[in-house]
């Protein structure tokens, strides 16, 4: 029991250290406005991609509609914070977004999660398009023009704190009773059913949790960028999130972090190349996929516990 406390304390220390580091670099002036924006976008991408990794990597359901849930979060938060421009309003907006995205995921998940592989991918893609088209035509969402002058209630520390919280939720979920049942669905549905796992239920749990967390990413996007419109949440956005997951390694949260950082920084560096940027970006992706098809980290996961037990084992050997 003491050991668990120690590992959790180390994780907390890592999280605080990261915050202090960014804060210090900001003070010293190493991180300017441009770099800060890059960091925030990386953070938002981490939230989106880890939640998609929960669906694709851990429950094994191939979803191509993540941008739809992000859009629900973004619009919910934008509308709520425009009415109540305060921190409380932002928290309420987050909550509303999570509930809306969760309910939509539940309603959509029950019929579509019966489908497998490619069929599910197409169905979820269709759902995201439906969400986008509805947002494009509603009065309250201001149609194709979108919403602007959204209060800027998110800064880099809001994003940082939410990255930590959402990652904690996903990782703790995966390493629990429900998470293990979710992974058994990915591994072998027939075997899972044979030992009493209600596979549909666990698929839906993972899908709804993934959607709710994606909506947090959307809310941060809305309250940082301050303008949103339906084209922000098209199929390309879903694919961008998917690329991070695949590149980092399907089923590795650590990999998602690494890939989000690499792609964010790559994107920043390539800004100087103008139109060549997308060509170089795609080329980098192709090269990584050719030489490391399982993603940068495969299914490898960073673990404080392993780090310590490994060191101990080494110490004993010496």
């Amino acid at each position: 029991m003491k050991k668990n406390l120690k590992y959790n304390a180390i994780w907390l220390a890592i999280a605080i250290l990261g915050y202090v580091l960014i804060y210090a670099l900001e003070m010293v002036g190493v991180i300017d406005q441009f770099a800060e924006t890059t960091l925030v976008l990386i953070g938002i991408n981490i939230i989106l991609a880890t939640s998609l990794n929960l669906v694709i990597g851990f429950s094994g359901q191939f979803s191509l509609g993540h941008a739809g849930f992000m859009a629900l979060g973004a619009y919910s938060s934008a509308l709520v914070t425009s009415a109540i421009p305060s921190v409380g309003g932002f928290l309420l907006g987050l909550l509303v977004g999570m509930i809306v995205a969760g309910i939509v995921a539940l309603v959509v998940g029950i019929p579509t999660l019966r489908l497998n592989g490619d069929y599910l991918a197409i169905a979820t893609m269709g759902v995201a398009e439906i969400i986008r088209i509805i947002l494009n035509n509603l009065k309250i969402t201001n149609g194709p023009a979108g919403l602007y002058n959204i209060p800027m209630l998110a800064n880099w520390s809001t994003v940082y704190v939410l990255v930590v919280i959402t990652t904690l939720i996903i990782v703790n979920f995966v390493h629990s009773r429900n998470g293990r049942a979710v992974m058994s669905v990915r591994e072998d549905e027939i075997a899972a059913e044979s030992i009493g796992i209600n596979t549909t239920k666990y698929k839906i749990i993972a899908f709804v949790l993934g959607a709710a967390i994606a909506s947090i990413g959307g809310a941060l996007h809305a309250n940082y960028i301050q303008t949103i419109n339906p084209t922000d949440f098209g199929i390309m956005e879903s694919i961008n999130i998917l690329i991070i997951v695949v590149l980092g390694g399907i089923g590795s949260i650590t990999g998602t972090f690494v890939a989000a950082f690499l792609l964010g920084i790559l994107d920043m560096i390539l800004q100087n190349f103008g139109t060549l940027r997308m060509v170089l970006y795609s080329l980098a992706l192709i090269l990584i996929m050719v030489f490391k098809p399982s993603g940068l980290l495969g299914t490898w996961e960073f673990s404080v516990r392993r780090l310590f037990t490994h060191k101990k084992a080494k110490g004993d050997a010496e």
Partner: protein
């Protein structure tokens, strides 16, 4: 009163009756074998009993705490929860998960850990996890696998994979264990080990075992009763001695007769 009562069970695939009019029963704490030539419908019968396939006609009923329950048309996970566990002819483990996780997943229903409890890692979460870990170790140690807790299932040798699948089925605390060709692909020595293992399971867990097997030495050594299936129909039932002398069974395996 039989533990499992099967009446007139039939499954048609198009015009083909893969299983037709099978009536059989299993009693408490009994070891029964199901034999028959290839393609006789043994695995289909298993799939019907465990709910993987829905029967065209007939009933499967199980004696539960709430009395006799008809299991047809129930989802496989519900049937499993009622106390029917199985292994598969071609091993179906959770290959990329560890041995411990494979067994833990089978205990999902018995594990009362809540969603928020695990997200916030409350002290009660660690307590419950530790208790479960203890149960897994105890169960695995019966099968001498307690040292392989953190091994990925895919990295286990073939015999150990078969054993792990049996452990995983037992972790659901079943009333009846269905074993689909547990000795397939094993050498005589491994088969002898398996025979001892099955006897041990039955005596330690006091459960009923129904086993499909082609290895006649194993069947004749272990089974108290044998059902013989040919072309989807039961052609004989009896003790190993009776079956060995049954002319229809001999014809089914060796041809001839009529």
């Amino acid at each position: 009163m039989p533990l499992l009562d099967v009446k007139d069970l039939t499954k048609n695939f198009g015009g083909l009756a893969a299983v037709s009019d099978v009536t059989m029963h299993l009693d408490n704490n009994e070891l029964v074998a199901l034999i028959g030539p290839n393609g006789a419908g043994k695995t289909t019968l298993f799939n019907l009993l465990t709910g993987v396939i829905i029967p065209s006609e007939g009933t499967v009923s199980l004696q539960t705490d709430k009395g006799l329950q008809v299991l047809n048309k129930q989802k496989p996970y519900k049937i499993a929860a009622e106390g029917m566990a199985r292994t598969f002819q071609n091993i179906r483990l959770f290959k990329d998960l560890t041995v411990e996780e494979n067994v833990l997943i089978a205990m999902t229903d018995k594990n009362k850990e809540g969603f928020l409890e695990s997200i916030f890692r409350l002290p009660s979460f660690y307590k419950k996890e530790a208790a479960l870990h203890q149960q897994v170790v105890e169960l695995l140690s019966i099968f001498k696998m307690e040292n392989q807790l953190t091994t990925l299932a895919r990295n286990l040798p073939y015999g150990a994979q078969r054993r792990l699948e049996i452990v995983r089925a037992l972790a659901t605390k079943p009333k009846i264990l269905f074993l689909d060709e547990p000795a397939a692909g094993m050498n005589p020595e491994e088969t002898a080990d398996l025979t001892r293992l099955i006897q041990q399971i039955q005596s330690e867990f006091h459960i009923t075992v129904l086993l499909i097997e082609h290895d006649m030495s194993l069947v004749m050594n272990l089974a108290e009763r044998i059902y013989v299936l040919e072309y989807g129909k039961l052609i004989a039932e009896g003790t190993p001695k009776e079956i060995q002398g049954n002319q229809r069974v001999i014809n089914a395996y060796l041809g001839g007769g009529d």
